[in-house]
């Protein structure tokens, strides 16, 4: 059965590229353009993995992680941060919120897919 991944990014270019990479690797891909829309989606559907940007309007990546870790259903959902941010403080904030892993853009598709397999049973 195909693994299901939700890609969350406010940049349509980046969402398209990540979605293409993950579809090519055999995942079923869903998309959301910010943290709040991701939460709305996850209230209705289940996925095996979330790949999220950090800098987004309305609800950013750290906020999204916090909300998911405080939810009953998605508390143990693997969440990979994929961001241009290299700020160690922001990385630590995401880790403290419960991020499963962290990758930096521009991404290498092989590394992204490998990381997805690394955190997705």
């Amino acid at each position: 059965m195909k693994k299901r991944v939700l890609v969350v990014d406010d940049s349509v270019t980046m969402r398209d590229m990540v979605a293409y990479t993950m579809k090519s690797a055999g995942f079923t891909v869903f998309e959301a353009d910010d943290g709040l829309n991701a939460i709305d989606f996850l209230d209705k559907q289940t996925v095996d993995l979330v790949i999220t940007d950090i800098n987004m309007p309305r609800l950013d990546g750290v906020g999204l992680i916090e909300k998911l870790r405080n939810s009953d259903i998605n508390r143990f959902l693997p969440i990979l941060c994929l961001t241009t941010e290299t700020d160690p403080n922001l990385k630590n904030a995401a880790k403290s919120a419960g991020a499963t892993g962290w990758l930096v853009k521009p991404f290498d598709p092989d590394v992204l897919v490998r990381a997805a397999h690394k955190v997705c049973l």
Binding site: S11, M14, D16, M17, P57, K95, D110, V111, V113
Partner: protein, 306 residues
């Protein structure tokens, strides 16, 4: 071959999407920079966030297509905006002029990239110098320079090495949805792995907290891998475990094949490792420099690997 053409068409589609997104983001930047000088103090923080996100998105997409000058300008703008957001510099005419000029040069540079022309270096250099001058006022440029000169990591040298790894996960590791099985799977892909689990701390069921962590692990790994390769397996969990990685002397390795001893990694983990990994997998270090390619070949190389 058709397989080769498909990523090119796909890359072109990504490029078009990127340039459309750039036009929207540049328009947003222009609008916000126009109103920022007279904005209510309560609105400034969100305006700076909008500016940052817009520049950040342009930088992220430009990096994928190897538009290095677009990345350089947007990175310098981002740094300046971050200083504003953190209050390390204040909005004044000098800062605003630098940002407005940078926005215009960024637009020109993106137009040049879109038309397939080489962007004009002198304008780019000048605007980056103006933005970096704001950064150097805070003394941050020197600090950033220091971190960029860190020594290179050790790399594999083609010899078999043996590592003993003691790994005691905490409950936090599980709370962040990590799993030791996945780490075992990753380690086993690096060489011959022996795994042992210390279950002495596992309490009676009546006293067990299902969300706590009780099992400690010890691994022996033999493979042609560097210390950094081993360390990277634990990169996502390094602050959610007690971890000790030790390179020990390897007395003799008769053959590089997998050992048949009793403590070899569990059959479940072993069977997962090759099946779940993509073919042509690159083990390039996360800190290794990206491959040098022509414009948008880099993005194509990424996707051709599929």
């Amino acid at each position: 071959m058709a397989k080769k053409k498909k990523p090119s068409a796909q890359i072109e589609k990504f490029r078009l999407t990127f340039f459309e997104e750039c036009a929207e983001r540049l328009s947003d930047i222009e609008t916000v920079l126009d109103v920022l000088p007279n904005a209510d103090s309560g609105d400034v923080a969100e305006m700076l966030n909008t500016l940052f996100r817009s520049v950040h998105s342009i930088k992220g997409g430009a990096g994928a297509f190897n538009f290095s000058q677009t990345v350089e300008i947007s990175h310098a703008m981002e740094t300046c905006l971050d200083l504003l957001r953190s209050g390390k510099i204040q909005i004044d005419s000098r800062v605003l002029d630098a940002l407005i000029e940078a926005r215009d040069i960024l637009a020109d540079t993106i137009d040049s990239e879109k038309a397939g022309n080489k962007p004009k270096n002198e304008n780019i250099g000048n605007v980056i110098t103006s933005l970096l001058a704001l950064q150097s006022d805070t003394g941050l440029a020197a600090a950033e320079g220091k971190t960029k000169n860190r020594p290179k990591e050790n790399v594999s040298n083609g010899k078999q090495k043996k590592y003993v790894i003691k790994f005691n996960p905490t409950a936090r590791l599980y709370e962040a949805a990590n799993d030791p099985l996945l780490l075992v799977r990753e380690l086993s892909s690096l060489g011959d792995l022996k795994t042992s689990a210390d279950t002495n701390l596992v309490p009676l069921l009546s006293k067990m907290d299902p969300l706590d962590s009780y099992i400690h692990w010890e691994f022996e790994l033999i493979g042609d891998v560097s210390f950094t390769d081993v360390e990277e397996v634990f990169e996502f969990v390094s602050d959610a475990c007690a971890l000790q990685i030790e390179e020990v002397s390897l007395v003799s390795v008769d053959k590089p094949g997998r050992s048949d001893t009793e403590t070899v990694v569990t059959s479940e983990a072993e069977s997962l490792a090759p099946a779940q990994q993509p073919s042509g997998l690159s083990l390039r270090s996360k800190n290794a420099p990206p491959p040098a390619c022509q414009t948008h070949e880099r993005a194509e190389n990424y996707l051709c690997a599929r």
